[in-house]
Symmetry: C2
Subunit: 329 residues, 2 copies
């Protein structure tokens, strides 16, 4: 296993400590490491809290700060945070407006965030993100997975919360956003979990996995390596089949790296996706290219499209000050 | 070769087009792709121009914008830009204050930037960055390589230029900065050049290369995989041997990923470096963690230390608005 690591059992803790020390101006780490929280809270604002298994950085800890999350709970690698972690995070950042939990659709996360919501009282609501079109909604087990589209949900809800929306309005906005955001990914090389020490799945030297999840879950199909243009076409077709766009609806294009993919390749993919959308007559109003929802050291990428309306554009453009997203005034 | 790619011969062009389209608010790509330039110039300001072989993204194109570079010239992968490219870039962004070229110390870059400076007239000066302590100054060929420390030089010179420093003052500042910035890197996995299709060097499953360059050049020694703490200790010792710090001189710690290294590992390394500096009684006044000067898909990292003074801290903190660095107002 080739990693910058001391020991598997201290890997996450050391990384979180390194992260909190590097970004002490923006956030602070709970002494028992149950959550990272925004340093300056906004009294009365609805608290936005998310979390999930570690290994997807910057998701979620890199999105804690003004205009996005108030707290993020890191679980162990690829493992949901506990209900207790989530309750403690909510208590630390709820300044009177209640709390909205942003949850990716995985059985463990849903169970633990729901339990936390029950323990935390009636001023907690939940938004469930399930943007991965590689999984069919009902047919496969727990339904669609939440992947990189979560970043868009957190950005837009964060802007609305900062603007003063109450809990009920944010819950409605979440219900508006989630079905308008769809993703699909491809892996070129698998990831290696530190505790396991070997790849989570095997890929031949000429193979790739289409529709892979952010934990290296099996996808739609194993295929021979394809060109960037062909990958973009297949991902866009799959996404657009599940995201009917009204005429002239512009999109947000998010090209997400999985952790082991360099920037130069992500922009090749962004270029391919842009040409693919142009060919289909779809306008890109906003875009983001980078590693936002990673899968440890997996190589590959995902494409996310969000069908935009004016409110969503306004929420996307609103100021944000986090480790991974920082723009506006 | 597992890459998001169409063809090796169009790889760079497609990536540059994807990059320029994604960040059209900040910069624009010359139609003949000789350079990327800042969209809004600051009349009379000294123009800051850099460049070098592609494959190190975000260096240099991701640092074009307010407070850093006015233009960056991408050469082919790991190949210097041509003198003509550099002259055209200077002409496009020199608004009357002359131009300062930031050059990494490689034979091809030095030759081509020098030729451009001669062709461009007498209002062009040059700052040469040679921060890599893995190479001894005189003993090995062309001397020390310019690596991730270049980012710090570009940030601080960019702030000073924005503040109104003239060309002579910027040249003096460059001469002040360069000897105060030292780096060293380690590779866990080699990179693969698209045109070559195979790794630039070989590493066994339990091996790493200490002192590697950002083109995968051989380093100080091949070693068995070491822990993050041991790697940090060895890199810090090598850097500090060449960077004598006066008592109480604080440092800027930059932990740089090589392109194939996920964020969670970089923060483990940042934590290890922080503990290592604390043990040596050295205070970290500023820090940056991320992939800034990459080497295609190489896995591994480098550590850079800059011995700070008040002016350098002020220049580091000054507002910047680029793809890779964005802070301040």
């Amino acid at each position: 296993m080739k990693k910058l690591i001391n020991r598997p059992d201290t890997f996450l803790e050391e990384s979180l400590r390194g992260f909190a020390a590097a970004h002490a101006d923006l956030l602070e780490l709970d002494p028992r490491m149950r959550f990272l929280r925004r340093r300056q809270l906004n009294p009365g604002k609805v608290a936005l809290v998310s979390g999930g298994g570690a290994g997807h950085e910057p998701l979620h800890i890199g999105f804690v700060g003004r205009g996005m999350l108030d707290a993020a709970c890191p679980g162990q690698i690829f493992t949901s945070p506990t209900p207790d972690q989530i309750v403690q995070a909510v208590r630390a950042v709820d300044t009177g407006g209640g709390a909205l939990l942003v949850v990716k659709n995985y059985e463990g996360d849903v169970m633990n965030f729901d339990m936390a919501a029950e323990m935390g009282g009636d001023r907690i609501a939940r938004v469930l993100v399930d943007d991965d079109v590689a999984v069919k909604p009902a047919a496969q087990g727990f339904g669609r997975r939440g992947v990189a589209g979560t970043v868009i949900v957190e950005k837009m809800l964060g802007a609305a919360a900062e603007e003063g929306c109450d809990l009920a309005a944010l819950e409605r906005l979440g219900a508006h956003l989630v079905p308008r955001i769809r993703s699909m990914g491809v892996a070129l090389k698998p990831c290696t979990m530190p505790a396991l020490g070997r790849p989570t799945f095997e890929l031949g030297p000429d193979e790739m996995e289409l529709g892979v999840g952010i934990h290296g879950e099996a996808g739609v199909r194993r295929a021979m390596l394809m060109s960037a243009d062909a990958i973009a076409a297949e991902l866009l077709d799959a996404i657009l089949a599940e995201l009917p766009l009204a005429r002239r609806t512009p999109v947000l294009l998010l090209v997400n790296g999985f952790g082991g993919t360099p920037m130069i390749e992500l922009y090749v993919m962004a270029h391919a996706a842009r040409l693919g959308l142009e060919k289909r007559g779809i306008a890109i109003a906003r875009n983001a290219v980078g590693s936002f929802a990673s899968s440890l050291d997996m190589a590959g990428c995902s494409i996310t499209l969000a069908a935009l309306d004016d409110g969503m554009i306004r929420h996307w453009d609103a100021p944000v000050e986090t480790v991974a997203f920082r723009w506006g005034r």
